[in-house]
């Protein structure tokens, strides 16, 4: 599928007229990216809506899925340490003046919750066992 997409981009790159003349033909029959927010969640990525969302999408979903972010819970210090680890070992770029925004977004929306030493079982789907 990626091969087809690359071909598509190459075709468009080599034949820009297809885009400039009939842009509508390049977008048919393709499910659209859900670029909207529903119930406080950015539908396409699953990120919580909040200040810094755009910067997080732009900087944190190039290499890995948003799911790697949303399934984690860290303090501000923990998120900063994670960013440093990615910069030192995983080729993440310098986030510059966007870093504060990004870290605040993460530490606000994905903060640790105290779980104790063993949590109660939750989300149990009860059913009658056929015996």
């Amino acid at each position: 599928m990626i091969g087809i997409a690359v071909f598509g981009f190459l075709y468009i790159a080599l034949n820009p007229s297809v885009l400039s003349k009939k842009p509508e033909e390049t977008v048919v029959d393709v499910p659209e990216i859900t670029s909207e927010i529903e119930n406080g969640i950015h539908v396409a990525t699953g990120f919580v809506d909040g200040d810094g969302l755009t910067e997080v999408i732009q900087n944190c979903t190039n290499c890995h899925s948003a799911k790697l972010v949303t399934q984690n819970r860290m303090s501000k210090e923990g998120w900063i340490a994670t960013i440093r680890w990615m910069q030192e070992t995983q080729n993440l770029w310098d986030l510059g003046d966007q870093e504060e925004n990004i870290v605040n977004y993460l530490a606000t929306n994905y903060a640790p919750q105290k779980k104790g030493r063993r949590e109660a079982l939750t989300n149990i789907e009860w059913y009658v066992l056929k015996q």
Binding site: F9, I37, N39, T54, C63, K67, N72, M74, R118, Y127
Partner: protein, 407 residues
């Protein structure tokens, strides 16, 4: 319902980053359009997995089972967890696949074609337990960074291949060999060809075990792509990250292998136990070797309601890393009392063992939890609470439990 559109030029250039290429005329793509290459494929179809599996991460792909999906004695592909550190290789060329042996402690570097490996060395099949070092990470407090595995990052399939030790004998390794390290065809998430997503290994003693295989079949068929086709190193009982997928090179090292994910907090735990949340210096971290004693109740699925007076049959598997499981117990009163389960011997060393029991002593109606506890051949059992905290949340072997109602 609040709806807000936010796609900007910046977002599109980020998409270009995902593709590894600029989206030419990206600024002309209408709002709301998702480029074809960015549309997510259906992972269940893509990897032939059961739809009950949980996708933790789609880049890189990480998918886990649920306890009740692991009921088979031999795990079929559809219920086998997928753990990736990087991007799955594409366009595998089986006909020209080769495996090179190099490193400080090899007598002479040597390359075998895959067909040569298959024809020259004797084939063996073992049922081998592979568990992700981070299985159970989601329960640690303070939380540990990474994919939040619950209980389903474990499998026990039949693997067919040749013994690594037979190949090492054919090549000749020096007496100062300490470790082997694998190299593979997967790609780093950053798409930087200089970086390996993961390059781990095992000490020579583990490499020379009978059950340590260079495998080309899983459950009697070619290994599925997501699980390492066409060649996978299998080191049962150790963190599954030591069982490198898509391998094309093995280095025989005269020191502990220092590839990607061998250092820092990766697959390492504090050499001496620490308080939850404590900072640990790099030099105080030790590489995980054998996985600890653990068990899983695979039947019934949690949430079963039974009539008062009816017995409840439970079953599952237990495994103990390098060791054997010697005892299996269950409790219906939160650990106040324990009773024995029937425990089978393993099919072969490093295979999980099956347990079962009929529970007939629920005293009255109400909410119960059935807890399972295994003990290994050296007497170590599973804790009911979380075991020692470590920075990356490895080795959670706390007892598994299911919820039961007697009605």
């Amino acid at each position: 319902m609040k709806r807000r559109s936010f796609i900007t030029k910046g977002t599109l250039s980020a998409f270009g980053g995902i593709l590894g290429a600029e989206i030419v005329f990206g600024h002309k793509i209408p709002l709301g359009y998702r480029p074809l290459a960015l549309q997510d494929p259906d992972p269940f179809k893509l990897f032939d997995k059961d739809v009950g599996m949980t996708v933790l991460n789609n880049k890189p792909w990480n998918i886990e089972a649920k306890a009740h999906l692991l009921d088979d004695k031999v795990t079929p592909n559809k219920f086998m967890f997928i753990r990736n550190n990087g991007l799955i290789p594409e366009n595998i060329d089986v006909k020209n696949w080769s495996l090179t042996f190099d490193g400080e402690s090899v007598q002479k570097s040597k390359t075998y074609s895959l067909s040569e490996l298959k024809s020259k060395f004797k084939h063996y099949t073992y049922q081998l337990t592979l568990e992700c070092g981070g299985n159970g990470r989601s329960e640690f407090n303070p939380p540990a960074k990474g994919n939040q595995w619950t209980v389903g990052a474990v499998s026990c399939a039949n693997w067919t291949g040749i013994r690594l030790k037979d190949v090492l004998e054919d090549i000749g390794i020096k007496s100062d060999a300490v470790y082997i390290g694998y190299h593979a065809a997967d790609r780093h998430l950053s798409l930087n060809p200089e970086k390996e997503p993961i390059s781990r290994g095992v000490p020579i003693a583990k490499a020379l075990q009978d059950e340590t295989l260079l495998a080309f079949k899983m459950n009697g068929e070619d290994i599925p792509l997501a699980h390492g086709h066409p060649l996978r190193l299998i080191a049962g009982g150790w963190p599954a990250s030591t069982s490198g997928k898509w391998i094309n090179r093995i280095s025989i090292r005269n020191k502990v292998h220092d590839g990607a994910k061998m250092n820092g907090t990766s697959y390492r735990v504090p050499c001496e136990s620490v308080a939850p949340g404590e900072k640990v210096a790099d030099e105080d971290m030790c590489i995980i070797e054998s996985m600890p004693i653990k068990s899983l109740i695979t039947y019934p699925k949690s949430g079963a309601m039974i009539k008062k007076g009816a017995p409840l049959d439970i079953r599952g598997h237990a495994w103990a890393g390098e060791l054997e499981v010697s005892k299996m117990e269950y409790s219906i009163d939160f650990g106040a009392t324990w009773d024995d389960c029937t425990l089978e011997k393993p099919t072969n060393r490093l295979a999980w063992q099956h347990f079962s029991v009929k529970i007939s002593n629920f005293p009255k109606k109400g909410y119960y939890e059935v807890w399972a506890r295994a003990t290994d051949s050296k007497g170590a059992g599973q804790p009911m609470l979380l075991p020692g905290w470590n920075p990356k949340g490895y080795l959670n072997n706390a007892c598994h439990r299911i919820a039961i109602k007697v009605i």
